[in-house]
Amino acid sequence: MAADNTIKLHYDVPNDDFTRAGEASSDLKGKLKQMGISPDAIRKVSIALYEGEINMVIHANGGYIDAEISENGLKLVLCDTGPGINDIVQATQAGFSTALEQTRMLGFGAGMGLPNMLQNTDDMIIDSIVGVGTTITMFIKM
């Protein structure tokens, strides 16, 4: 596919609005379905992006998501200006979480977010600077 056939989408993730978390994942899922992408790939995208959105809301006061769909697959860039991740290796271990009890009451914060994202992507890069923010780039083959 030529570069001009690449589809680009942009989503803003609202600051601290838990009820709206997942709207970007839902919209992207609908678009991929319309494009005839395989259910397996859509499931991976849905899980990875939804966990990312939830993380942005509960840890980082929102941010934005850029999606780029090409013939090779889907590239997702999740960017926030939150507190950053102090120890990335530790943060990606299943069960490790810095979420507050309040977040756990909402059904998240079990330390499965980043592991679920890693599990459902073909490539994932985490760039984070404490006090500046976090950018996560994910790639999923389609």
Binding site: F18, K29, I47, F108, M112
Partner: protein, 118 residues
Amino acid sequence: MTVSDIQKLLNAKVLSCNEKLNMEVTNAFASDMMSDCLAFAKDANVLITGLCNPQVMRTAELLDIECIIFIKGKEPTDSMITLAQNNGICVLMSEYCMFETAGILFKTGEIGGATVGC
């Protein structure tokens, strides 16, 4: 087993998508943690949960879960029901606790688990 069978077994109230009561379901997952659903509910088309917030509807939608059973009489808000309705998710409300709800369904032998690796 159909959603209608589940509704009768649990004496549950139907809160959305009445038109989908004849839908066949095969596998269920039970949890209050949505991250666990995302990680482990591989082939579930039924979600049993005591969590009652909009992210339950979102999780179900993103995992193609077609029936949610809220336990212990937990009643979703109108906006949550609208979200479910818009996504074709049949919502039931049961007075049973999670253990009893899962047990009643499992005992029929007609609905299985949905956990990755099990």
